[in-house]
């Protein structure tokens, strides 16, 4: 469930009794006033269809990693708009997930001819061919996630309140949460201050039970679901700087507690000399995590096109820090169509308990993970969205295609022997395609 910081409302406040003289022409003023009356007097969602009281938004995501996971995600959202300005939304999403992800283990380093079988997190038994000596072990999975979200927005003068909630269900993960947000317009609606908070109560229920961390996995911590709670808070401000320029700054903080370990991830135990794998341990993470981030965003209207930029700095008490730069350029093609190229760059440092592997004979740390997602990592995204209206039919279509590449440490310095010769992080290539359609009626 995400709760967005809103832009400042652009509807005009009461006009001053004696407005200062403006250099603009009478024609421009009348044109602007007409636009304001038409566009900003309505809630944002209604702008897609003038006079609409119901908004339907749908999207379909096709996500594919090269030789790894695949996801199909249809989403339907319906928003009811009331004359009082209130807005009630409900959203249903379905994630169909299958494929494989790295288990955290390292290549065996030996040539094997033995065909093996293994039980997947889905409960299926599968036969796998003998792996190559430098093959990164993966775990296969298959799951379906269903998520339902609802939120209610109510404007009251300069104040706007939003209440939201969500519930989601997967085979081994359930989530129930709610959030609240208050926005206050200040400075004749040139700025909006937003504060908010949220709470999630999640349950992790791994297939086969929850293993004890940093063991061979044969002993269970519990067969019952484990709790994970997330509390979060947001404070932000958005500000109209000029007729063409809107900026925003927001800071969020989240407190997580409970079972934060990935139950299916493992670490290899390496021979200190040869580097061959001699065993593996389940991973274990701390039971608390405090996250914080600050994001600055800008929207700038050029003569016709719009430039969106944002920067986010993130850090948490696992010593993971990241920087994210995101930019989109909306180029108007005419006829209500646009093309929007997108670039994103992300880089993160490793959590302090991240290890590529553990070395046999050395002391086992209190916490350890080999999950690359909390290791040194860079992500690059390049793509574009095409938005258009089909001639003669209502609603707006969006088609987006993107490439996402992830790059980590291919030759980390905390491994031994033969592992130093292997490429331990092959770039992960991801392709995504989204088709979306929005219509008011």
């Amino acid at each position: 469930m995400r709760m967005q910081l809103t832009s400042p409302p652009t509807s005009p406040p009461a006009l001053p009794a004696d407005p200062p003289p403006r250099p603009s022409s009478i024609r421009r003023k009348l044109s602007a006033a007409a636009c304001i009356l038409i566009a900003s007097g309505l809630p944002a969602a209604a702008r897609a269809g003038a006079g609409a009281t119901t908004q339907l938004d749908t999207s379909l995501l096709l996500y594919g990693e090269q030789a790894r996971a695949k996801v199909t995600e249809p989403v339907v959202r319906i928003t009811r708009l009331y004359s009082s300005g209130q807005r009630l939304s409900a959203q249903l999403a379905l994630d169909v997930i299958s494929g494989a992800s790295p288990s955290g283990a390292l290549p065996s380093g030996v040539i094997s001819t033995e065909v093996q079988t293994r039980t997947t997190p889905s409960g299926n038994v599968e036969t796998i061919p003998p792996p190559a000596p430098d093959q990164i072990p993966t775990t296969t999975f298959k799951d379906t996630r269903v998520a339902f979200d609802a939120d209610w927005t109510r404007p009251l003068g300069r104040f706007t309140t939003t209440l939201g909630g969500h519930v989601s269900h997967e085979k081994d993960y359930q989530s129930l949460g709610g959030n609240a947000k208050l926005s206050i317009d200040v400075m004749h609606r040139l700025a909006t201050i937003t504060i908010g908070g949220g709470y999630n109560h999640d349950q992790v229920d791994p297939v086969g039970g929850t293993p004890v961390g940093l063991t061979d996995g044969s002993t269970l911590l519990t067969s019952d679901p484990s709790k994970k709670e997330v509390s979060s808070a947001l404070v932000g401000i958005s500000r109209v700087l000029t007729r063409r320029w809107l900026v925003g700054v927001a800071a969020t903080r989240a407190w997580e507690r409970g079972y934060l370990t990935e139950p299916y991830k493992v670490l290899s135990l390496l021979d200190p000399t040869s580097g061959l794998t001699v065993g593996q341990l389940t991973e274990k993470r701390p039971s608390t995590r405090v996250r914080g981030d600050i994001q600055a965003s800008s929207v700038y209207h050029l003569s016709r096109d719009v430039l969106y930029t944002s920067y986010r700095y993130y850090r948490d008490d696992w010593s993971l820090k990241s920087h994210t730069i995101d930019t989109k350029y909306r180029h108007e093609l005419g006829g209500q169509a646009y093309l929007e190229p997108h670039l994103r760059y992300y880089t993160q440092s490793a959590a302090d308990f991240y290890h590529t592997a553990l070395i046999q004979g050395e002391a086992i740390p209190d916490y350890a993970t080999a999950d690359y997602r909390v290791g040194h990592l860079q992500t690059g995204t390049v793509g574009a969205t095409l938005g258009f209206h089909l001639f003669g039919s209502p609603g707006e279509w969006s088609l987006r295609g993107e490439y996402v590449g992830q790059f980590g440490e291919s030759h980390p310095n905390d491994v031994t022997g033969v592992q130093q010769d292997f490429n331990l992080f092959h770039p992960l290539n991801i392709a995504t395609f989204v088709a979306a359609y929005s219509v008011g009626f």
């Binding site: 995400r2 967005q4 959030n179 927001a250 993130y314 990592l377 991801i430």
Partner: protein
Amino acid sequence: MSAPSRRLVAAALLLSALAMLNGCAAMNVQPWDRDLLAQKKMSLNPNPMLNAVDDHIYFSKEGSTGGMDVGGGGCGCN
């Protein structure tokens, strides 16, 4: 980041926020000048549905989360 650095960043952000709030008279935008700002595309989040898709993807593939929202999670993908 060290404690002094954190205080410096916090002070810079506070000053930035105050500057944004106060602005300057020359930068004020009168109601009749908000024709461009009234357009749907002139929003910090003009396409919430596509952005939500992105949030979900990056939440599942990276160690960070957050941004201009709150209450993330609700997924066993990370």
